[in-house]
């Protein structure tokens, strides 16, 4: 950790925590279960930064990522927080 906020860097897309109440609707929209979602480690620098804002996060929460795309403008991507990645 250091002096800079990783979320501000131009190579890092927007990360937003999905509220627990909205998780269900996200999963129905995508027609998947939580296990199918791409993963993000709890020790990921962006998750650490989100923890500074939202307090301690637990594995199983969903993070919404708003990616910049050269073809579609912006689009949403979802990742699930997991304990460890490998």
């Amino acid at each position: 950790m250091s002096k800079f906020n990783v979320l501000e860097h131009e190579i890092v897309p927007e990360h937003h925590l999905v509220p627990v109440e909205e998780e269900e609707s996200v999963l129905t929209k995508l027609n998947v279960t939580k296990d199918d979602l791409p993963k993000i480690g709890i020790n990921d620098p962006t998750i650490k930064a989100l923890e500074e804002i939202h307090g301690k996060l637990v594995p199983g929460r969903i993070v919404k990522i708003i990616r910049k795309s050269p073809t579609a403008g912006y689009y949403e991507y979802y990742r699930i927080i997991v304990k460890s990645v490998m």
Binding site: K3, V6, E14, T46, I66, G73, Y74
Partner: protein, 505 residues
């Protein structure tokens, strides 16, 4: 806000915790007024936060807790103590700027303003168009919505509705079909131009010492997710104060380049009287802005040496323990003793970037985390070509962007046009599991869920044997498995199954 940081034993911390509020006698007199202090129990991390209500000059008192027995200078009145999440010392801005805490230090905790980035925002008009489309069940990407805004104003409503419908239709026509083998198409689309790429490394913009791997070797490096690329390099953007000021940029470069003693001096070994002499090269040291003091402070950290003689441009050293073996060892170690600069960065050059109209620094070697903390560096734009380093510093999503960006740059630099979507697919697959995985045996292909697919790829016997031992089940859902057993593959029309439901009565 400046606070006091000190190292203490676990025993003392326990004692304080038990008897809070209490008075604690220490052997250091803080210069400023302090109300918060931190205690570290190992040298690198801070574990406890202490609130201090008052600082008194030391005098014998009742109910004192002593840090040590002699040399006491001050008494801290501690009102509360609590255990906090471990914070590394490097997060404190210390006056001395050291990495290890030995006794007392004054430092300021870095305050980072964590906010969620909100770069993506649509104009109100664009939002209306998006809502119109959504209410009709159309899924129109943001890039098109921005283009449709002007038609909403200029066209009558029924025509605008028709336009939306048409856009949706055209989009649907161009959608990829269900069960299309996108991975194979992407692989071929990247593989074919790959045959036309060069196999050489290139010099960087006329600077002879700086090489940049390009072409096919670089592309292979990216998809292999190498831990260290063959030519790591950074692009350092500068803050507004620095970017137009040539003098400051030159100074920054000198502070970036890793300088060791051998770079600015000769080391002469005299076996006769067992001494080492560091003879400073005036020209080289001036060029690198290294002074005698810098070298002396670099040597300070070394133990077991005695200064014999110090004059204007040479330092003579003797060893505490006289032996030829030690003499040789110390000489070798002295050569690589860092004086200044950032570790791993061997060279840095500055150029005026035409697009930026400002100075940009390019380096050979990469150390993102340290460079970002240097004053004058724009920590929001500075990047490296080392994907794994980006993953460690900025996270998996940034690594995904870096893979895409590097692959795209490598291909377009050679004048090859590969559809962006293929590269995005590769980048998404490589980062799916939350960490960067190579394409190949060690990564994506080696971790497929199907036994037969893995066995068909590489090391057949190992996979089959392991699957037999563990009793793995293969549902025959993929392509390779079905070819092996002689069934139609689950792609395109082969993906459709016929299911007989039986009579309904």
């Amino acid at each position: 806000m400046i606070s006091l940081i000190w190292r203490d034993t676990k025993k003392n911390v326990e004692l304080i915790s038990k008897s809070v509020p209490c008075a604690y006698a220490i052997d250091y007199m803080p210069a400023d007024k302090i109300d918060t202090a931190y205690i570290s129990t190992d040298k690198q991390n801070v574990d406890y936060e202490v609130k201090i209500s008052e600082i008194l000059k030391y005098e014998p008192m009742d109910d004192l807790i002593f840090k040590r027995k002699t040399g006491l200078k001050a008494i801290l009145k501690i009102s509360s103590i609590r255990k906090i999440n471990r914070v590394p010392i490097s997060e404190f801005d210390m006056e001395e700027g050291f990495k290890e805490l030995t006794s007392f230090a004054m430092g300021e905790k870095y305050q980072v303003d964590y906010r969620e980035k909100e770069a993506f925002s649509l104009s109100p008009e664009a939002k209306e168009v998006l809502e119109d489309a959504e209410s009709k069940g159309y899924d129109i990407p943001v890039s098109l919505v921005n283009k449709l805004v002007k038609y909403k104003k200029s066209l009558p409503y029924n025509k605008y509705e028709k336009l939306l419908k048409r856009v949706d239709l055209e989009l649907k026509k161009r959608e990829i079909d269900p069960f299309e083998a996108v991975g194979i198409i992407a692989a071929q689309s990247i593989g074919e131009p790959g045959t036309q790429m060069t196999m050489r490394t290139f010099h960087f913009a006329g600077v002879v010492e700086m090489n940049v791997t390009l072409g096919l070797p670089r592309l292979i490096e990216i998809v292999d997710a190498r831990r260290i690329p063959s030519t790591p390099s950074m692009t350092i953007y500068l803050t507004e104060k620095y970017r137009k000021n040539e003098e400051k940029v030159r100074e920054l470069i000198k502070n970036l380049e890793n300088t060791t003693i051998i770079d600015v001096a000769d080391i002469i070994t005299d076996v006769g009287d067992m001494s080492l002499t560091i003879k400073i090269d005036r020209n080289k040291s001036r060029e690198r802005l290294v002074s005698m003091g810098d070298i002396l402070s670099a040597l300070e950290k070394r133990k077991g040496i005695i200064y014999n003689e110090i004059d204007e441009d040479s330092i003579s050293i003797k060893l505490q323990q006289e032996s030829f073996k030690m003499l040789y060892q110390v000489q070798e170690q002295l050569k690589s003793t860092p004086i200044k600069g950032v570790n791993k960065i061997s060279r840095a050059i500055a150029r005026i970037d035409a697009k930026e109209d400002a100075w940009v620094i390019y380096t050979q070697g990469s150390n993102l985390r340290e460079v970002l903390n240097i004053e004058g560096v724009d920590s929001n734009r500075t990047t490296t070509n080392d994907i794994i380093e980006i993953e460690n510093v900025f996270g998996i999503e940034a690594a995904r962007n870096a893979i895409y960006r590097e692959a795209e740059n490598t291909l377009s630099e050679q004048g090859l046009n590969v559809d962006k979507r293929h590269l995005m697919l590769v980048a998404d697959m490589m980062t799916f599991s939350g960490t960067v995985r190579a394409v190949g045996r060690q990564g994506i292909s080696g971790r497929k869920s199907s036994v037969l697919a893995r066995a068909a790829f590489e090391i057949t016997s190992k996979h089959l044997l392991k699957a037999g031992l563990l009793g793995e089940i293969d549902p025959l859902a993929g392509v390779a498995e079905n070819i092996i057993v002689g069934q139609p593959i689950t792609l395109g029309t082969g993906a459709i199954d016929l299911v007989y439901k039986g009579n309904k009565k």
